[in-house]
C-alpha cells in the first residue's frame, strides 16, 4: 500500500514538473534594448525585460487573442527581440476547466534597441 502511494506521488510530481516548461524565441538579428542598471542576474542580465503574468479572458465569440506590443519606456522600439513563454500546470488546469476562455499569460519579452 505504502509503495503504491509512493509511486502515485512520484507520477504526480513528474506530471507537475513536466507540465511546467518555458520556450524562448530570440531574433538572430538586431540588438536587445539594454538595461544599463544591470538589475537582473539571470539569462536576461543587461536586457530591459517586460514581464507579463496575468490571466486573459476570452469572450464566447472570440477564437483567439492577440496581445499587442506598444512603444513604452521599457520597449522603446515597439519591436520584439526575445520572447519567453512559460506554461505551468496551474495554467493548463485553468484553461481546461474554463473551456479555454481563461488563459494564463506568463511571458517575458525584450524589445529591440532603437537605432538612430
Amino acid at each position: 500500500m505504502k509503495n503504491s502511494i509512493k509511486i502515485f506521488t512520484l507520477i504526480i510530481i513528474s506530471l507537475l514538473l513536466s507540465s511546467c516548461y518555458s520556450v524562448r524565441l530570440r531574433s538572430i538579428n538586431g540588438a536587445y534594448q539594454p538595461d544599463p542598471l544591470l538589475s537582473r542576474d539571470d539569462y536576461y542580465r543587461g536586457m530591459e525585460v517586460v514581464e507579463l503574468d496575468t490571466v486573459i479572458k476570452i469572450d464566447v465569440v472570440s477564437k483567439d487573442f492577440t496581445y499587442l506590443i506598444k512603444e513604452t519606456e521599457a520597449c522603446k522600439s515597439g519591436k520584439l527581440h526575445t520572447v519567453e513563454f512559460k506554461n505551468t500546470f496551474g495554467g493548463s488546469l485553468l484553461s481546461v476547466f474554463s473551456f479555454g476562455k481563461k488563459r494564463k499569460l506568463k511571458v517575458k519579452y525584450v524589445c529591440m534597441k532603437p537605432t538612430n
Binding site: 540588438a31 542580465r45 538612430n116
Partner: protein
C-alpha cells in the same frame, strides 16, 4: 535636444559581476528623435552639446567622469567612483562620402563609416552588411560598443589583421566642457577625412601620429570618445573547422604559425601543390587538467562572399545552463580537487564540437554570447614564438598551485600601432584563461593571488608579456605597466595625454584603474602646450 537621465546609485557592476564598485551618479543619455532633428549630423552634434553640459555639471561638482558602453570589461577599467556615463543609446552611423575624403588619402570612401560611441559590434556589422561590407575582425562576440572595444584593445584571432583598434581611421573626442574641447584626431601619415568633414563634427583637427596612436587605446582617459571612423572591407565568408590534433603539432603551429609546412592540414584548405593554406584565424583550446595527447583547435579560412551557403546557426554553440554553472562554482570553492573532474564533464559544453564544420560571415560566427553567470578572464600577450613555453608555465602554475576553475586558450593577433596596445609583438599570442568566478576559501587561493602569481611566474622566467586591459590582473602590481611596455612608451603615452587634455581634465577623465597602474599620477599638472603637428581650425 539629447536628454540625460540621472540615477543616484551606490554601486555599479560589470556585466560579468566583477564588482560591485562604488558609484555616485549614473548618467544615461538618449538622442533627440529624428522627427525633431531630421539630419543625422545635427543629432550627432546635438549630443556633443549634451555631453559637454554633463562634463561641466560634473566638473563643477568637483567630481570625475567616465563613459562606458556595454560593461563587458572583466575588471574596473570602465569604473569611476563619482560619475559614470552610459552611452549605449548613442548609436548614430554615417557612411563617409567621396567628397569627405582627404586629398592625400589612400582610403576608399565606400569602406569608411563614422559610428557614434555606443554602437555595438553587432549593430556595426548589420550596418556594414547592408552596404555589402564587413568588419575586418571582432572579438569572440558582438555586444561590445566600438568605443569600449578600442579603448581596451578587443581582439579576435586574426593574426594577419590585428585588433579592433587597428582599423580605426579617426577619433572624435570630447575633451572638456568648452565648445572648443571637441577634437577630431587622425594620424598624419594616414589621413582619412578632409577638413570640411572634420569641421562639421568637431572644432579642432589634430593630424599627429603620436597623438592618434596614444589615444587609440586610451583606456577611456583621453576624453569622451564620441565617434569613431573605421575602415571596413568587402563582406567575406569564413570556413570554420574544429579538429582534435596532436598537442605537439598544435603547439608547433602556435610557435611558428607555419601552416604551409605543418603535418596538420585541412584537406579542403590546401594549395594545388599540397601545402596547407594559412588560415585567417587559429585558436587552441587547452584543458590543463587533462592528460589527453590532443588539443582541440579552431581554424577559419577566408573566402569571397556568396549568397548560397548553409545556415550556420543550428551549430552555433549553445549556452550552458546557468544553475549548473552556479552549482559547479560552489563545488569548486569547497572542493577544489573536484575542478579537473568538473571541467572534464563540462568540456563538451565549453569547447566547440569537433568536426562540426560551418561557413558563415564574421558576425554570424562571432554571434551573441548570452550571460552565463559571474565570469573571470586573465589574458596575457606574449610573442607567439614564446607560446608553448608560456603555456607550460601557466598550466603548471594553475595545476600545481590551483586548481582554478577555468581553461586556457591561445589566440593570435597581428601587431598594433597603438602606443599601449597589448598586441605589441610582431604577432602576439593572447594566452587566456576563462572561467567562473570563485570566492577564496581555505582550500582555494583568491583570484587576486592567482593574478599576481601569473605576473611573477612570467617575470621569473623572463617571458616578455603584456596584459589585456579589459581582463583580470593585479593591476596595482608594482611597476607592471612600465615592465610590460617600457619607460619610453609609457612616458610617450602620458605625454600625449597631457598634450591633449587641460590639467583639470587630466584628473577629471582619470579613474582608480589609471592611478593604480601609475598611468595617472598625483603629480603637479603641467599646462598643456600646443601640439606641433596639428591643424587648428578655430
Amino acid at each position: 535636444m539629447a536628454t540625460t537621465k540621472t540615477h543616484h546609485l551606490k554601486h555599479w557592476d560589470t556585466l560579468h559581476n566583477n564588482g560591485p564598485f562604488k558609484l555616485k551618479k549614473l548618467y544615461i543619455t538618449e538622442l533627440e528623435g529624428d522627427g525633431i532633428i531630421p539630419k543625422k549630423i545635427d543629432r550627432y552634434n546635438d549630443a556633443v552639446v549634451e555631453i559637454q553640459r554633463l562634463i561641466k555639471e560634473t566638473f563643477n561638482a568637483n567630481q570625475g567622469f567616465r563613459a562606458y558602453g556595454s560593461a563587458w570589461s572583466l575588471n574596473h577599467i570602465a569604473h569611476h567612483k563619482d560619475c559614470m556615463h552610459y552611452n549605449g543609446f548613442m548609436n548614430i552611423h554615417m557612411p563617409i562620402q567621396p567628397e569627405n575624403l582627404h586629398s592625400d588619402t589612400t582610403f576608399k570612401a565606400e569602406n569608411l563609416f563614422l559610428f557614434q560611441c555606443g554602437t555595438t559590434i553587432k549593430r556595426i556589422s548589420e550596418v556594414l552588411s547592408s552596404h555589402g561590407k564587413s568588419l575586418k575582425t571582432s572579438g569572440a562576440s558582438n555586444g561590445q560598443t566600438i568605443a569600449g572595444c578600442i579603448s581596451t584593445g578587443v581582439h579576435g584571432s586574426a593574426f594577419q589583421v590585428g585588433s579592433v583598434q587597428d582599423y580605426v581611421v579617426g577619433l572624435h573626442l570630447i575633451t572638456g566642457p568648452n565648445i572648443e574641447d571637441n577634437v577630431y584626431i587622425e594620424p598624419e601619415s594616414k589621413a582619412g577625412l578632409n577638413d570640411a568633414f572634420a569641421q562639421s563634427i568637431s572644432k579642432k583637427i589634430i593630424r599627429d601620429d603620436a597623438m592618434f596612436y596614444a589615444a587609440l587605446v586610451g583606456l577611456g582617459s583621453f576624453g569622451f570618445i564620441h565617434g569613431v571612423v573605421i575602415e571596413a572591407e568587402p563582406r567575406f565568408l569564413l570556413n570554420r573547422y574544429v579538429r582534435k590534433i596532436d598537442k605537439n603539432v598544435a603547439l608547433q603551429l602556435a610557435d611558428t604559425l607555419d601552416f604551409k609546412n605543418s603535418p596538420f592540414k585541412i584537406p579542403e584548405e590546401t594549395t594545388p601543390d599540397g601545402f596547407g593554406k594559412t588560415p585567417y584565424h587559429y585558436k587552441v583550446f587547452i584543458n590543463q587538467y587533462s592528460d589527453e595527447p590532443e588539443y582541440v583547435v579552431e581554424l577559419m579560412y577566408k573566402n569571397a562572399y556568396k549568397n548560397d551557403y548553409k545556415d550556420p546557426f543550428p551549430i552555433i554553440k549553445q549556452s550552458l545552463y546557468m544553475d549548473l554553472i552556479h552549482l559547479f562554482t560552489k563545488m569548486a570553492e569547497n572542493w577544489p580537487k573536484s575542478i579537473p573532474w568538473l571541467i572534464k564533464r563540462l568540456e563538451k559544453s565549453i569547447l566547440p564540437k569537433v568536426d562540426e564544420d560551418l561557413t558563415g560571415t564574421l558576425p554570424e560566427i562571432f554571434w551573441d554570447a548570452p550571460y552565463q553567470g559571474g565570469a573571470f578572464a586573465c589574458s596575457v600577450g606574449i610573442d607567439y614564438t614564446d607560446s608553448s613555453k608560456a603555456l607550460k608555465l601557466l598550466c603548471d602554475l594553475t595545476t600545481k598551485e590551483g586548481p582554478i576553475p577555468g581553461i586556457f586558450a591561445m589566440r593570435f593577433v597581428k601587431q598594433t600601432k597603438a602606443t599601449l596596445g597589448f598586441t605589441k609583438f610582431p604577432v602576439t599570442c593572447m594566452l587566456e584563461i576563462d572561467g567562473v568566478l570563485w570566492k577564496k576559501t581555505r582550500k582555494i587561493m583568491s583570484f587576486e593571488a592567482y593574478c599576481t602569481r601569473i605576473i611573477e611566474v612570467l617575470k621569473q622566467n623572463n617571458i616578455k608579456f603584456t596584459q589585456h586591459w579589459g581582463k583580470g590582473s593585479n593591476w596595482a602590481y608594482n611597476g607592471l605597466v612600465n615592465y610590460m611596455y617600457g619607460n619610453d612608451t609609457v612616458n610617450n603615452w602620458k605625454a600625449q595625454r597631457k598634450k591633449l587634455l587641460s590639467p583639470e581634465m587630466l584628473h577629471f577623465f582619470a579613474n582608480d584603474f589609471l592611478y593604480e597602474t601609475k598611468l595617472a599620477a598625483d603629480e603637479p599638472v603641467i599646462h598643456p602646450i600646443n601640439p606641433q603637428n596639428e591643424d587648428l581650425i578655430t
